[in-house]
């Protein structure tokens, strides 16, 4: 605790006195974690999912990388053996949820309105709308964005990042943060690699440098290439 003290000095012919402002200045020392609220909600979501024996995967990547196509492809292969639901995050529209719903699994569209990422609170609300006791597996498709979603844990078990060759050769080196906590990374649209002049092996190499633990799979979702490998990389078989 400290107190401001008065001082005086001579200015020209008269003495100007600066008196102590009768105020107290004090410090409050604390460790207030600003991100705690989201993290606690994420833990809450995680326990709720675990109580129901559900495995959950957060799917992240840029707009147009193929997140929805990959989830649809995975669901088509797993729906016979797993009870699956999909939470679709987007700024607006139900386009993605409708695409997934065509696979005949329950979907919930979460529209963030303006926000560039999903957060644990939105997922908590979405989970309240799903019959958790009747599920084994939930995919959460995050808003298309390679920056913000990495900052907000949702409470999922694993993170799958989807990038595509059509995004150019520098996706990984420009956005390394997205890959720090990725369990699996799909390099999608490899059928277009030659046309794009992008070397998928170089992308894979970049990912392995940033995060050597991440499992990297080459995919072409439209032709169902690499889908089983993604499923395997997530430990779902």
């Amino acid at each position: 605790m400290s107190r401001a003290r008065g001082s005086g000095w001579v200015m020209g012919e008269r003495t100007e006195v600066v008196t102590s402002s009768e105020d107290e200045v004090f410090d409050i020392e604390l460790e207030a974690d600003i991100l705690k609220a989201n993290r606690e909600l994420a833990l809450e979501n995680h326990s709720k999912l675990k109580e129901n024996g559900i495995t959950s995967i957060d799917v992240m990547g840029s707009v147009g990388s193929g997140k929805t196509s990959l989830i649809k492809a995975i669901v088509s292969l797993l729906k016979a053996t797993h009870r699956i639901a999909v939470i679709e995050g987007d700024v607006t529209t139900t386009i993605d949820a409708d695409i997934i719903a065509s696979e005949g699994v329950p979907t919930v569209q979460v529209n963030t309105g303006k926000e560039c990422h999903l957060d644990a609170n939105l997922i908590k609300k979405a989970l309240a709308r799903i019959q958790l006791s009747e599920l084994d597996l939930i995919f959460i498709e995050n808003v298309g964005n390679l920056i913000c979603p990495a900052e907000f844990p949702l409470g999922s078990d694993k993170r799958l990042v989807v990038i595509s060759v059509t995004e150019g050769p520098y996706m990984v080196v420009k956005h390394p943060m997205m890959f720090y906590e990725a369990n699996s990374v799909a390099i999608n649209k490899v059928d277009l690699a030659a046309a794009m002049g992008v070397n998928p092996a170089k992308l894979k190499d970049d990912i392995s440098k940033v995060n050597p633990k991440a499992k990297v799979v080459m995919t072409d979702c439209r032709n169902m290439v690499g889908i089983s490998e993604v499923i395997h990389s997530l430990g779902l078989t």
């Binding site: 200045v25 004090f26 604390l30 440098k209 633990k213």
Partner: protein, 125 residues
């Protein structure tokens, strides 16, 4: 990219201290921000000034200390600052590979956003 929402949480947290200091004014807010967070310090400071309109916070200064991330290799035990791989692109690439033994390393810290100190001026009773 979400500095405004972060600043909003910061302001809400600080306002919890207002009732205990009814005539007080916040002079300084000290924040510790991990370098791994995708947070622009300049945007965070700007957002804070925009949102800190309440009498309790108006005019207060946000002072930010950035903390580095460390890595620890579970295999060879090497501890060091989060490394940047040397590459052929002429730009830097952070890496979670151990520079000594090439094993995957674990990240430690660098992901926090914590208010460490609030300096308040209060009229003497």
């Amino acid at each position: 990219m979400h500095e405004l929402s972060l600043a909003s949480t910061l302001v809400d947290t600080l306002l919890e201290y207002a009732p205990k200091n009814p005539d007080g004014k916040v002079l300084e807010v000290h924040l510790r921000v991990g370098k791994l967070r995708a947070i622009s310090i300049e945007q965070l400071k700007f957002s804070y000034q925009v949102l800190a309109k309440d009498r309790f916070l108006k005019g207060s200064k946000l002072i930010i200390e950035e903390t580095p991330a460390k890595t620890r290799c579970p295999k060879c035990g090497l501890k060091q600052d989060f490394a940047v791989a040397d590459d052929s692109y002429h730009f830097t690439l952070p890496t979670l590979s151990c520079p000594k033994c090439r094993s995957p390393v674990e990240l430690q810290g660098g992901d926090e956003v914590v208010i460490t100190k609030v300096r308040i001026r209060s009229p003497k009773k």
